[in-house]
Symmetry: C2
Subunit: 355 residues, 2 copies
């Protein structure tokens, strides 16, 4: 049996969309048990309204809630009685295998980092998301956990992204690209070039494609896009802004004349189908990778369907032991790098002795 800790009070539409979201994944995941943290008076009626399987959840009553705009540092000091902290702590104490919240991002990150600690050989956590492309879905990280990164951080992110994609899309060798401002080897910042060199050396283990640029994300050039948290965040938000811009312009166009309105009527079924493809709710769920346990942030304004998508991905990742897999890959890579260094050193010694 899998156990997921749920902060039922986090998010703009909580707890209703959270409980309704849980319902949407229950049928296909009959072996998952939910620990629901929050105001019992509000949650209990909702579990009845949405007919949650009563044998598969337990409500833990909490009074306090970390508000959406609380500073992480303040939440850390004062939020120990909140639904968010209690849900995170359930994972730390071994009662649950992952935590999900649509609440305060910064507080969730800070609390999880303290409670779970980092996986050995990973220095910094990274936020990973799934995004649509013209080909298949892709994975991008870091989306904002680290404003600045060194080469070693970027290599860690590449390894974590590799495992993340492997599990989600059952592909043995997902292609990995480093986000840069040109595809030529001489372009970009030093840390990116250094990370590229390391990934090339690990070519037997990872399918490193090379540098990619912002427009490659939409095209779907690679499966995993790796960047520092600043560029990644700017890129993700630029993509969001552009989607809104184009959709806004389209709406205006379809309202601009009677003919266009008639056209829209005819095209509506087809447009609805594509709406499903690019439905941002399907990509809900930002994963905090690099921690010893899985922590998932659902979008603050998640509706039931959106929350269920983030929850479904969480369950999938727990089922396939994401954190253990990251740990294993990190160990193997560190071992390989050390062996390589040792070999190089021994060759040097050997040639020195010969002289």
């Amino acid at each position: 049996m899998l156990v997921i800790a749920v902060d039922a009070m986090g998010g703009d539409n909580a707890p209703e969309s959270v409980i309704a979201g849980v319902k949407l994944v229950q049928k296909e995941n009959p072996d998952v048990f939910y620990l629901l943290y929050g105001d019992e008076k509000k949650i209990l009626p909702l579990t009845k309204k949405y007919r949650l399987d009563e044998s598969m959840f337990k409500i833990y009553h909490t009074e306090a809630v970390v508000s959406m705009d609380e500073k992480p540092s303040v939440a850390l000091r004062t939020g120990r009685e909140s639904s968010l902290w209690k849900a995170i702590y359930a994972v730390r104490s071994g009662e649950a295998q992952a935590v999900i919240s649509a609440g305060n991002t910064g507080a969730l990150m800070a609390m999880s980092k303290i409670c779970f600690g980092m996986i050995a050989n990973v220095d910094r956590p990274a936020i990973a998301v799934v995004m649509p492309t013209l080909k298949e879905d892709c994975v991008a990280l870091d989306l904002g956990a680290n404003a600045e990164c060194n080469a070693s951080n970027l290599v860690d992110f590449a390894i974590m992204g590799h495992v993340f994609y492997q599990i989600l899309y059952k592909k043995e060798h997902p292609s990995i690209g480093l986000l840069n401002i040109g595809s030529e080897e001489s372009k970009g910042r030093d840390e990116i070039k250094e990370a590229a060199n390391t990934l090339k050396k690990l070519g037997n283990r990872f399918n490193y494609h090379g540098f990619v640029e912002g427009n490659d994300i939409g095209i779907g050039t690679v499966n995993v896009y790796v960047s520092d948290g600043f560029s990644g965040n700017v890129s993700l938000k630029s993509i969001e802004g552009t989607s809104k811009l184009i959709m806004g312009i389209l709406k205006r166009a379809f309202k601009s004349s009677v003919l266009a309105k008639i056209g829209l009527l005819f095209a509506l079924p087809a447009l609805k189908k594509i709406k499903k493809t690019v439905d941002t709710r399907r990509y809900n769920g930002a994963m905090m990778l690099g921690l010893n346990s899985l922590c998932v942030k659902a979008h603050g304004n998640s509706d039931p369907f959106g929350f269920s998508c983030a929850l479904r991905r969480t369950i999938d990742l727990v089922r396939h032991n994401l954190c253990d897999e990251i740990r294993r890959h990190m160990e193997e890579v560190v071992f390989e790098m050390e062996a390589r260094d040792e070999e190089e050193a021994s060759q040097k010694r050997h040639s020195l002795l010969k002289e």
Copy 2:
């Protein structure tokens, strides 16, 4: 009379699209004279085909062409007989007031930097472009000239973007935003926070809005978006990629059923109208700001209309003395900052004497 130096051989569709593009702006700018650099045997017949006003251009024959994939360093060493270098040099020697090319970006930048030199008090050049938003067009810089920037560079870019927007859109106090990963003052990299502090101090002179995020570009939150060249480039290309992604999905949808095809037929006039609004060719022309003379890079695959848009903007900026205006603003800002420093120092001395 204004004189513009044109690299007639640069770009995928040169020289035809260049000459045809010149024709498109000639009528509305009867006082502009063009120096056309390139292969006379190819250019002369085109000037006849497109009926360029014969009294308003002169062809300077050159044999060599800097290819699109030539390394800038190589182009600098070996390209002194090329149409690109000759066109740039015409500005340096005072024959022309600005240069435009759809050719090799890196070579254009490197050659212009050497030929023109930097405006006093500006350390680094920045690439600026115009982009559409849900509100009015905006200006963004740097789009890739500098992979890394310090606070002082960002402030320079803000000032240059201010002048650039002022001239293009005749708005006295365009709003300026610094691209960051959150709008709170505590967010982001140190250099951005430091730049924000300086811009706040210059509040009497510039309409500094605060931090903005990637999605603000599509929304049109501010008039001028300032960033380092890495984030700016990633953002711009993410926007391009997303546009392609959405347009690709839309095309697929409108071809997916007979009904949708009929719908498209009805909606076509309205969609064509919006195509005009978001026509990327209208935003052609990346300006290299911070140099002593104006250097404009038209898109490599410019068609005649695209090239004409970049050329029209070039003429507009020369007419309004962009470089002089940047120089004046930079001087005034430096003067103000020095006066402020002096005042602070004098106050300190004063209070020390009193003690």
